[in-house]
Subunit: 156 residues, 2 copies
Amino acid sequence: MKIVLAATGKTDAAWLREGICMYCERLTHYFPFEIRTVPDVKNARNISEEQQKEKEGEAILKILQPGDYCVLLDEKGGQFTSLQFAAYLEKKTHAVRRLVFIAGGPYGFGEAVYKAAQEKISISNMTFSHQLIRLIFLEQLYRACTIIRREPYHHG
Amino acid sequence: MKIVLAATGKTDAAWLREGICMYCERLTHYFPFEIRTVPDVKNARNISEEQQKEKEGEAILKILQPGDYCVLLDEKGGQFTSLQFAAYLEKKTHAVRRLVFIAGGPYGFGEAVYKAAQEKISISNMTFSHQLIRLIFLEQLYRACTIIRREPYHHG
């Protein structure tokens, strides 16, 4: 199974890019893994939030391939413990060729993205910055990999 | 009200220290704020997890002053949305002189720290690295400050 994290807009802060890179590198020891970012919407200040989400969605949806299993990182989604998420990921490895997680833009997801997704997962009741969520989610993915392999990273 | 984040062990990664510094700096525009870290336990490999938690706890408890309101960042705690957390923080500003949040070490908290705390807050059902949780929590604190001041950072 290949895992993809799709996100809108480049990661602005250098320190955050570095942290994200670190977990990316670690993840590739467990799964073929890739981050795909689509460009920020141009002239976002001159359009409504709804229009921005729609345009972001169009770009994100181009990343998807037929047969992908698509999961939104969305506050309306179901919540897992880290152990439950590891079990979820392990189950998917047997059923899915490409597992695509999508992190939303600053205003969340447009309707078309919701329609294209098979599932929604929520990391927390709290809202995190759409840039920081990438780092947070990658650490969870990495943690799940170490749980699946019974490596001593996660102290349950 | 002064806010303190107490944590065990220095933050290892330079990129993470940089991110934490950024949010610290932002926070000081809203509250007197300070991070207090206690040293990692020496020879941690030669003692049990319980002993390590106990020693970490002793050091953490020395940070506390009489009258502090002490809140553990603990997975057994109650969960808030970001808006609820902002309301919680605002309420505390009228009632508390020093609000101390404590982030645990790699194995969580010892019994003495649980006893010293007034409250427990959980960020997520998922477990995050005890180093990363500092960054994640600071972003929530900052977000709460912007919500209280009705500044345009949080898109609810």
